[in-house]
Subunit: 336 residues, 2 copies
Amino acid sequence: MKVTIKDIAREAGVSVATVSNVLNGKGRVSAETAERIQRIIAEKNFVPSTLARGLKNKNTQLISVIVPYLKRGNFEENPFFWQLISGVEMGTKDHKFNVMLTRVEQDNDLSFVQMHNVDGLIVVGIDADSELYRSILALKIPTVFMDSYIDQPGLYQVHNDDLLGGYLGTKHLISQGHTKIVLVVGKLADRGVDFQRLLGYKKALAEAGLAYDARLVLENGGSMLGGYHAAQKLISLPEKVTAAFVLSDIGAMGLIKGLYEMGKEVPADLSVVGYDDIFYSEYTIPSLTTIRQDIFKKGKMAADLLLAQINGEPVTEKNILLPVELKVRASTAKIL
Amino acid sequence: MKVTIKDIAREAGVSVATVSNVLNGKGRVSAETAERIQRIIAEKNFVPSTLARGLKNKNTQLISVIVPYLKRGNFEENPFFWQLISGVEMGTKDHKFNVMLTRVEQDNDLSFVQMHNVDGLIVVGIDADSELYRSILALKIPTVFMDSYIDQPGLYQVHNDDLLGGYLGTKHLISQGHTKIVLVVGKLADRGVDFQRLLGYKKALAEAGLAYDARLVLENGGSMLGGYHAAQKLISLPEKVTAAFVLSDIGAMGLIKGLYEMGKEVPADLSVVGYDDIFYSEYTIPSLTTIRQDIFKKGKMAADLLLAQINGEPVTEKNILLPVELKVRASTAKIL
DNA sequence: AGTAAATGGTTAAACCTTTAATCAAAACTG
DNA sequence: CAGTTTTGATTAAAGGTTTAACCATTTACT
């Protein structure tokens, strides 16, 4: 059936310990023996069982990406997550690690971690105030948090510079003469990614001597449909706004669509800035001005950081802040 | 450290065998004892190790989704895959199975299957003529093929009715008066998804008494960029075409963008039909007429089929054909 | 030559479960 | 009451690998 280390040992006329030693480059084994064993391994296409290994060593070469529960659709809809996961997969592949994808529902069931002896966790966008967060910490296994802004020293975290992103997007609009700028956010909290971007938004306003108006901040615009609905809210605002900064590209797409259906043109009637620079942003009509964050790279970074943590390697910086960049395209224009 | 079956046994004052028995509902154990053990298990939050279990039983509650190598970007770009995987994840979750995501590169390295003792495989869009396909079969583990149209009885396969899809999209355009219809495909082969759709395209043409013209079939249009380039090819065609049927929504988005940049309007100058009905298709401008396939459901179906296979349950039909549907939106219009 | 050190291995226990085989006690039989 | 069946458990082996502790040769040193 399945070829085991025993088969190799028998074939090579040595003990299993010796085979194990050449497998792991440990112990003492002569060059010839090692070579012979290697040859037989290749010949018989032997792959050591991670199960048996893990049982002994407590490691499984398996990490898990946890995406907190989002209502169905939202998750699949946003390429952001997929690019991220793709980056993680890429980052682990070279190190012979595999990635398990696990969507944790409201029950916060993390039993798969113990079941599969997962070596480490990458957690995306979690609230430090949640039950899930506490459960994850209780696991006491190597973990990297992404896009979570958890205010606790010692944690491994990866972010893009969201404050800067919020600032750049807003500043760009201001530089085009806009003064009434709607900010469309997913969920407003006193921490997290959107909060940081809001800080950047405020900073840019303040720098330009513009007053911050909380009524211009529209919530629940994180999804396509959310952005679409935000269009109506935006139109019915008492003051006349000339620009919108939507904190996700898919939200921006929804918003533009909503405006379009109400006869408003982008950017003629309203300038729109998105956030993320997903693949589609270049291909929408009009193409989307947005804040670019290298999502793929972020995923890869998180993987690197996690593997370093798992292998007990020292890292210079546990808290990584990646750059963002303003991509000016066709959805924003100077005010007349 | 980690709580094991031994800890439970000690606490309950029984042997580990007894604990194992209540865990698996086997053997004979009195109601009281069983209850006491259950209580302690819950109390101590004990989860049996899949590693140890798998070592004994040869099953790991782990399946893997294999996406054949695609050039980077293409994979993350197409929400199709993600919806699919999301469906798979959903389909396995209830059965306490977990999903490993594995991108197989050109090296066709499937060693992770043996390493992790993966219980089953879901393979997306593979060519029956490839090395990878042969390697997968050689594994001799439960497998479901999706979107592969492998002409071999006994295999578990899931498809949408691609021939019908090709037919419906073409017929829709013909019904609007179009006679010169470009077909933009990913890769033309003598089998597979695109081939089936091509068959449908031809069928609709034949039915309408229109001649099939191979020059109207444009290749390499499966990605966004591919669709974008297809726009130029389309324009420079000797005959004047009035419609395009692009066999992926993202390709259609690219095409529309390409046309737009060359001053051509959709649907005024050219009608466009896409394929897949991904999330964005409703939000593009103009919204995209497309062939809807329930991708999420397809993923879930594949998962169900795989689990049935793994558990040795009888299935009535190994070869599942799911329906497709024409969604008429704004990117197609009657010819003047 | 006699001892010490290096070389190339082997043995056996451990990791955590499952399960077939076994056993003792209790509950039935007639 | 002696024998049989049922009940409720236990023991021990097995699954594939790693690794510390050993051991027998060979080589090096004075």
